[in-house]
Each structure stands twice: as C-alpha cells, then as structure tokens.
Subunit: 149 residues, 3 copies
C-alpha cells in the first residue's frame, strides 16, 4: 500500500523577468542559487532567440540534443527545483512554437538564449528533496516514488 506523502509548506513566491541575451537555464538556476531556493515549482512564458533542448533516449539512457537556430515563442516553461549534490538544481521542460505556430519542445538545456522570459517560482519548504542516480532509468530522481501496485 502507498504511504502517506508528507506535504510541503509554501515559502516565498517570485515573479520576475530575465534580461534579453541571457541563457535561460543558467539564469533560472542562477536565480535559485542566488536566493537559496532549494525546492519549488517553476512556470514561465516568453520568447527565445534560439533554443537548445534534448530528448532522452530511454534505451541508451543518453540525451539527444536538438538545437533550433531560430526565434521562437516560449509557450511554457514547466519544472521544479530540488537538491543534487547539496546544491539547488532545476529540472525544466520547455514548449516552443516556430513562426508557423507549430509546437516543439524537450528538456531545457544551456544554449537557449532569452529574448524575453517571465518566470514564476513558488518556493516549497519542508523536508528537502534530493536527487539520486536511479538505475532503472539512468536519471537522477527523488526517492520513494509513488506506486499503486
């Protein structure tokens, strides 16, 4: 049977934009480190001058990088903050659209250049959540995953 999951308390709430030309991943992660945000939710919208994201290959357990050398709308940035090696680490997925409105996306990587980005962060406080290498997926995941079976 599934255990009771311990809830978090909501901490600080931030809403900010990022300067044109900054690297999106580095700016969001830098913001979290600078403000000592160790756990939380990330949401955002905006536009980018170019995008770099990746798709995880579940067989080879390696990321395939996709680079879009074109300006795109950022339809959504969605992710979270937790600890990895005692440092705040963000994990975010980005959804983009090209000039015809077609949507693309993947795991946000360094190399995504901000044109404009409006980011919401809800800090969570409580027991810290720490990523550890997970053998089954090859990813760094949180312990005690929810299982119905």
């Amino acid at each position: 049977m599934q255990a009771q999951e311990k809830p978090y308390l909501t901490g600080r709430t931030f809403l900010f934009n990022i300067l044109k030309g900054e690297d999106l991943l580095q700016a969001v992660e830098g913001f979290c480190i600078h403000h000592g945000i160790e756990c939380g939710l990330i949401q955002g919208i905006g536009a980018v001058e170019q995008a770099t994201f990746s798709i995880y290959n579940q067989k080879t357990k390696k990321y395939t990088k996709i680079v879009k050398n074109e300006e795109m709308e950022m339809l959504s940035l969605s992710g979270n903050i937790s600890l990895f090696d005692d440092h705040p680490m963000t994990h975010t997925h980005i959804t983009l659209s090209d000039k015809e409105g077609r949507a693309w996306g993947g795991h946000l990587m360094a190399g995504t250049k901000v044109f404009a980005a409006e980011i919401f962060i809800q800090e969570l406080t409580g027991d810290s959540k720490t990523r550890k290498k997970d053998k089954a997926t090859g990813l760094s995941l949180w312990p005690n995953p929810v299982a119905l079976r």
Copy 2:
C-alpha cells in the same frame, strides 16, 4: 453582470515522482484519492514509455483516442482536481514531444505508461467544486461559468 467568484484557500502542497511503469492517470488520480485531495491544481513534467490521450469532437460529443506507441518527453502535465459523484476526479491535459522534438497532446487517458514523472499538486480548500453533466458541451463541468455578456 458577473458575480464575485469566491476564492479558495491553499491547502497542502505535494511534490513527488511516480514509479517507472505505472499508469500516469491512475497514479495521479490514485494519489489524490489516497490523500483525500478534493480540489486543486496539477502540474508536472517527465517522460513516458507510451502515451494515450484523446481529442474531443465538439460535434459528435465523443472523444477520439490517440495512442502513441513510442517513448516521449512529457513537456507538461496541466490540470485540476474536483469532485465527480462524490469522489476526487482529475482532469489533465498532456503535452508531449517525439524524438524529433515535435509536440503532441490532448486529454490524458489511461494507457500512458510512466518512464519518469515529477508531479506538483496544490490542494485548494473551500467550497467543494462538483462536476455535473453539461448539455451544451456534453462534458462534465463545474456550475456557474464566468460569462462577460
């Protein structure tokens, strides 16, 4: 004139991952039932081994099911929790990307197998929100929709 909508209070906040191999919809809905979450917001990212979602046909008032038998990134899971027939029911839409980064999505259905899923739930407390069959759309919707006209 539009009535004043009564605000909710924020309740418990959860951040958790789901075990590889679980059914995404059943795991999220099972989590809500297990923890007695009757109203709230759902957000999430991750990856799936295969996806099942549907598109609502507004004329025939039936869902058309789409099955993707391939691994995909989950760019976003976005939805809510409310009551239906006195039980917590989730309503979530999923946005995915294939190995070329192209985005797809629809109404999340059972048959979406988790590779990794990181889910945020913000419980809301206050007057319970209950879905009831709506004749105009054929959907189960909340009462008193906002109307400007």
Copy 3:
C-alpha cells in the same frame, strides 16, 4: 552582481470555468479586472471552437497573427497578470492540439472562442509590477530584469 528579488505573498486563489462561446482572452482579463487582481499566475486547460494567437517577429518587432478556424484542445494556458497603464493586464501563451493531436501555439489574442475552459489564478500581493515599453525588444516588460552577467 544580481540584486535580491523581493518575494510576493500569495493572495486569493481562484478556480473557475468559462462559458461556452466567450472570448477566452477577454473572459480571463475581464475576470481579473472584475475581481481586482493586479498581479498573479494563470494556468488553464480546456478546448476552443477556434483559436487566434500570434508569434512575435523579433526583427520587425511586430506580431504575426495566426487564426485556426477549427476546434482544438487547449493543452495549456500559461501566463501572468500585472499592471499596464494602471490596469490589470494578462499576458498568456496558449498551447493547442488539432484533431490529429499535433500541437500548436503562441501569444493568446482576442478571437479565441471558448468551448470549455478551466482556469486557475493565484493572486500575488506585494509591490505592484508594472509593464513599461522596452526599447530593446519592443515589448512591454517589467523593470529590473534578472541578469547573471
């Protein structure tokens, strides 16, 4: 060095649906004005009878409008509320899928007709955030963007 960003406090929380036939942008913005929500986060899902969104051309600094005269799922509505000319203004991006499940999206514009829309708004209270014309992008942005460099 980056300054410390002042956090917001969470205010009222709303969860509501919008009547079939309403204009999505006008209904969400009208809701914010009607309830005096001057700052906040917007999230939503649903379906639309037709969609109108735009893609910003970063060179010409003009929006290109895209109209989809077809019913679509709303995979996510993601955005924020802040002040512009002393009035609440929403900025939201919409992600949609067509009948084959392919995703599209951009900057939400008037002309998007609701079939069903379930909207979450988290009000933020604290120093008001006001948009001002930004020369570098041609957009109306908040002051003091985060810069790592």
